[in-house]
Structures are given as C-alpha cells and as structure tokens.
Subunit: 397 residues, 2 copies
C-alpha cells in the first residue's frame, strides 16, 4: 500500500520538495516504511517541461476531495490562500507539513487545534531555520528541560549583510545591493532587513517553548537598516560582532519577552562565529545548559529537506498525533513589553563627551562605550536621548 501526497505550490521550495523527493525516493520510502507516491502538484502556472507535468492541477479541490491523498506539503507562502487550503486539508484529516512561517506565526494555534481534533499532524520544521532541525529537537529532545531563553540568528539575508560589513568594511547600502545581486535579498528587502521575517520565526519558537500563541504584533522588532559601519568596526575592536538577534526569555514574573534587535555578541560566544547566510539558534535549558543548532536558514533544497523530513514523519506515524502544540492566547498580557528588557548597552556619542563607564573607545566617529551596569530598554533610551547618542545597541549576555 502506498501513501499518496500532494505539494501545494511549485515555487522555489515546492519545486525543491518535488525534486528532492524523486532524487532520494528509495531512501525516503525506507525511512517512512512504505511506498510514497506524489499524486498532485498545485500551481496556477503551467510547467509543461517538467518530468512530472501530468501531476499538475490548478484546482485545489482535486486534492481536497481525493481521499487517497493523506498527506500534503504546503509551500505557497503568504497567509492566503495557504491558510484556507491548509485548514481544509486538516479538517479532512490530511496531515500537513509546511515551510510557511507567516502561516504558522499568525494561525498556528488554530491549525494545531484542528489537527489534534481530526487526529492528523500539522508539522512546520521548515518554518524556522530552514534546514536546521530546531522545532522537533526543541520539542522532543529538550523536553525534560525548563527553558529560560532562546536566542539566535534567524534571518540569513541580514546576517550576510552584517558579515559583509564586518569582513569587507562595506557600508550597509552596498552590502544590501550585493545581497540582492546574489539573490539573497528580495527586490523589496523590507521583511528581511526590518526584522519582520526573524520576528515571525521567534514567534513560532516562543509559542512552542512557552505553550501559548505569540503573535508578531506583540513583539518589539527592530531591523538593521540604521546600523552604521562605524559601529560594526568599533564593536569589533571592543571584542564584539553586531548580529540581528531574535530572542525570547522568561522573566521573573513568569511572563516572556520576545524581541528582535541588532545586538553586540561577544567573540567568545559561538553565535558570533555564525557568518554569511547561515542561521543558528542557541537554547538555554536548566539541564542542558547551552545547546546550539546551526545551518542554512533558507534556500531551495535546505528548506525542502525539512519539509520532506516532516512528510516522512507524518507518513510513518499516521496513527500517532504529536503533542507539538500550544494554546491560543486570549490576549498578549503574558508578553512583556520591551521597556523592561534588560542588558548592558553599547552607546556611541560625539567625540569629546565624558562618560564614566569603563569599557570605552574613542575613534573618529565618536566615543563608544559599553555601560558597566544593566539598564532597561527604557533607561537606555532615556540615557541615549540625554546624551544625543549616535547609536545605542544592547549587548547579548
């Protein structure tokens, strides 16, 4: 008996899923323990020249109404029609694996609840960190841990730009242009460089780790577009790299504080060695201490690898519904506001200013220093305003 599945969307990731599936079909079936057949590919466009042209359909109902199809991989991206399609599949008891971070970040709780009710699986390993196994290890391998924080580099485009600024002294605009030329950044790079992409991913991680749905709109998000090359260089001299860090930590009051911000990362921290388009996620647990996952956070085959891994798992465990799940959140009162975020801060002021903090460096772009003490976000902003600071960036501890 073979299991039949459908691929929704034949863009970069969807075509990767199809190609990877056929390339490693034998291995994949061995792992899944049964034969697997690709029955449909949904796309509004025509692909007459692919070897699987006969699989294409433009009508989602062909897939939905075919009871032979028990598993679906969603690789369309965007909220709609992905949400409508995935919801309909789960309601019919078809397991879904998706690479769509927007879908999971905005609608994960609803889709997980339907999957549970209908005794099928909703998997989304590919939605965070592309190829990097992170969702399943977080949920399963680290299940015995009380997790105090997760922080990481969750966007490859911005990490590439920051790496170019750091290694090659390129200004932000030039590095962005290069990223676009190389296909690492979109024509409209807003979602990446303003941190929205990283925000969706830290929402998914936060929801999974703390058990309640965290919406992107509740998360303070700041991108890298105003990072000055001078700060990248000065931070380096002081022993730090600047990285776009998406993080979530549990506060003493039990609330959680997710946020996305450029941060100074000490060269002693392995996260600072993560360069180019690579992503990494560092998990802090009471038993494991620090664990890091590293790899390609995007790209056709890396992302397809995670989607097909999920497909194998849903085929293998047809009867087991995984408890990888979280509750809907009635409000976001459990999400702490950014004002109470605490850390040491890197601040750059005009040359000639006087500061009392001990770590300081005078260059032609001004006087940079790292505060001796931890300050809240609100305190740091107020100090920066008073001194007319040219840059103010938190330090990852």
């Amino acid at each position: 008996m073979s299991v039949k599945f459908a691929v929704l969307g034949h863009g970069v990731v969807g075509s990767g899923v199809v190609e990877l599936f056929y390339k490693n079909k034998e291995k994949i079936e061995k792992k899944a323990g049964c034969e697997i057949e690709l029955k449909y590919i949904l796309d509004l466009r025509d692909f007459p020249d692919t070897p699987y042209a006969d699989k294409f359909t433009k009508d989602f109902n062909d897939i939905l109404n075919d009871d032979e199809v028990t598993a679906v991989t969603e690789c369309m991206g965007g909220l709609e029609p992905a949400f409508t399609f995935v919801k309909a599949c789960l309601e019919r008891g078809k397991s879904v694996s998706t690479s769509n971070k927007e879908l999971v970040a905005e609608k994960g709780d609803i889709l997980l609840a339907i999957a549970k009710e209908k005794n099928c699986n909703f998997f989304f390993e590919a939605s965070v960190g592309g190829a990097i196994p992170i969702i399943r290890p977080l949920h399963k391998c680290l299940a015995a841990n009380d997790i105090s924080s997760v922080s990481g580099i969750l966007n490859g485009t911005t990490n590439f730009i920051l790496t170019k600024m750091y290694n090659d002294n390129m200004a932000f605009g030039d590095a962005l242009k290069l990223a676009q030329e190389l296909g690492y950044a979109e024509k409209d790079p807003t979602a990446d460089i303003e941190g929205f992409d990283a925000c969706r991913k830290i929402c998914i991680i936060s929801s999974l780790v703390y058990g309640k749905h965290v919406y992107p709109k509740s998360v303070y998000t700041k991108g890298i577009s105003d990072i000055d090359l001078a700060d990248v260089q000065t931070a380096d001299s002081m022993g730090y790299s600047i990285k776009l860090i998406a993080s979530v930590r549990r506060m003493e009051n039990g609330n959680i504080l997710p946020c996305v911000m450029p941060m100074l990362v000490s060269h002693e921290n392995i996260i600072s060695s993560v360069s180019d388009v690579f992503n990494a996620v560092l998990v802090d647990g009471d038993a494991v201490d620090k664990v890091m996952f590293y790899g390609r956070g995007a790209g056709k085959f890396p992302t397809a690898s995670a989607v097909v891994g999920d497909l194998i798992d849903s085929v293998k465990h047809k009867i087991t519904v995984f408890s990888q799940s979280w509750e809907p959140a009635e409000d976001d009162s459990f999400v702490e506001k950014i004002d109470s975020f605490k850390s040491r801060w890197y601040i750059r002021v005009s040359s000639g200013a006087k500061v009392s903090d001990s770590a300081q460096l005078e260059t032609e772009s001004g006087l940079s220093y790292i505060t001796d003490n931890e300050l809240t976000f609100a305190e740091a902003m107020s100090e920066a305003e008073k001194s007319g600071a040219l840059a103010v960036i938190p330090v990852l501890e």
Copy 2:
C-alpha cells in the same frame, strides 16, 4: 493511569536522571501526556540520605518481574551487567533509554532487533554528544537527505585539553593535569585521550547513518597524547586549530570510512570555534548542505536531559516503534581501511629541510608545511617517514 519507570544505576548520570525527573516532573508529564512515576532505582550501594531512599533496590529482578514497570533508563555504563539487564528488559517489552555508549557501540544491533521484535523502543540519544540532540535529528529531521559525511568533536575532555594548549600555551601534560583537577578527565584518562570514547560515538553515528553496525575494532583511532604544543602554535599561525575529530565519510565505492584522529581545522570552519568541554557534530547532506549541533557533550544534567527526553518519547509513543535502527554486520568489509583516507596533510620536519609545498612556516621547532595536494594516509605516512617528520596531521576539508 500513570506510567512507571525504573533507573538502573545511581552514579553521576543516574542520580541526574532522578533529580531532573523530580525537578521538572510537571513539565515532563505534560509533554508525555500522562503521569509518570519513578518506581525503582537499582544500585548495589546504599543511599539512605536521598529523599527517595525507599525506591532503591539491589535486585534487578524486582524491576524485571514487575509488569507495572514499562520503561527503564540505563545509566550504569560499561558492557556488563548493562547488556544483560537491558536485553532482559527489552525481551519483556519494556522500553529502554540509555546513556551507555559502550553498550550501543558494541551491542546496538542486537538490542535494536529485540526492541523491534518485542514492540518496544530502545533509545540512546544520550550516548552521543550528551545533551546535544543528534541521534533523533539525524534520523528524523534529516531523513530526506543523502548524507555524505559526519564529522565532529565528540569528546569534551580532549577538547578541553587542546583548548588549554591553544589559548594558554600549556603543554599537553599540564593541560591533562588541569583537566583531572577540574574533574573533566578521569584518573586513568586513556579512554578519552587515546580517542576510544570518541570512537564509540562515531561508531553509533556511522551505524545509524549508513544502516549497518560498525564496531569500534574496525575503526582507526588515534588520540591526542603525542600532540606537541609547537604544532598547536604553528597550526594557529597558519590559520588552523588542532581538534580531535571523529568522522565518517562515504567513499566512491559505497564503503564508509570512519576514523578518529587529531586534525587541523581551518579557522573559517565553525568547528574550530568549539572550545573547552563543548562538543559539536557537523553533518553534510545533499539537501541541507552543512548542519551543526553544538552543546555540552557530558556532565550530570546535560546527559540526564537526553535520557529523560528519551523516556518522555517512549512513554508518549508506547504503541509506536521507531525505525531508528540498523542491521547487524556480518563482517566489516564495508568499512574502508584507513590507508585510503585522503586529505591534505600538515607535516613538520627539521629546520633547514627543503619542501616544495607552498604553505610553509619556519619556526624554532622546525619547518611546518601543508601539502598542496591530497595524499592518502598511506602516502602521507611514507612521505613522513622518508623526511623523518616530527609531526604529521591531516587537514579537515
């Protein structure tokens, strides 16, 4: 209904399992989806002062013959009596999670076959890389990949020693002494420093990835006891760290070549940033490209974290037997001999020697160079012998 489990061995890891279980009991039960009760702790010693003194037994049969006990965690270490006990548990259909790398490396195929036959699970996430999720991600998340090689730092003691040599210019003997003082190395450090520990772990990874049992005796293993501080320093000047690397690669003829050797790792490779007692495993797959897992490879709670994570999984999936498995190997003809191992090599010869290779550095300890071309192990040894080399170390590509 609660699930009842037993812990075999109350040493460092076993006591960690018990403490971690009680500390995070509520979270653990939530993840497992049911109540879990620790019913027995097996140890020949007395522990009258622990809060769970009433759980102790000295008689393994108490556990074996108690049908209420459906899951067992084995933390005794060593081949016997661990093998006899684990085998007996699996034969009675009790799922077993173990941290015992020797047991898995020597007897994994037998135990996996019994678990499969008896419809229970044999899990061993803790046996490789301690806290680091590696077994399950390799098997599940990367299931869609054709894996060409795995390489990593799988022994924390030797990594600590090499880090001390590198950072603090300590000689090998002094660094070993410090490791012993800090409790990172045993009184008899042979298993760590001669690479036997790393060898068992790469055997487990090789068996899992390539599907056939690889025995430690088939694996070329060289430790770090003759690494000279001069080579650590010279390699650094040439842009490399020296690390004890356990690796396995697939050869063109389909055979595999596992081995354990000190190797030069380029500073560009993130593996070279893994210091102190931390471990890391880098996986190369056709779809994911490179993925790395990083964390504490040993220690009471990190290891216990992995054991309890496995326990949760076996409780949760009572009815699902995982196909994380491999076949027994009738002989080791599929394991390539070290002679065909190929790489560039770092070689140090007496000062004044003449070599034609381009990367070379003359210091007071001699002339060091890296061969321009890849040489097989056999060729490198022959070149080294001819030139009376003082050191010959492969380069990790």
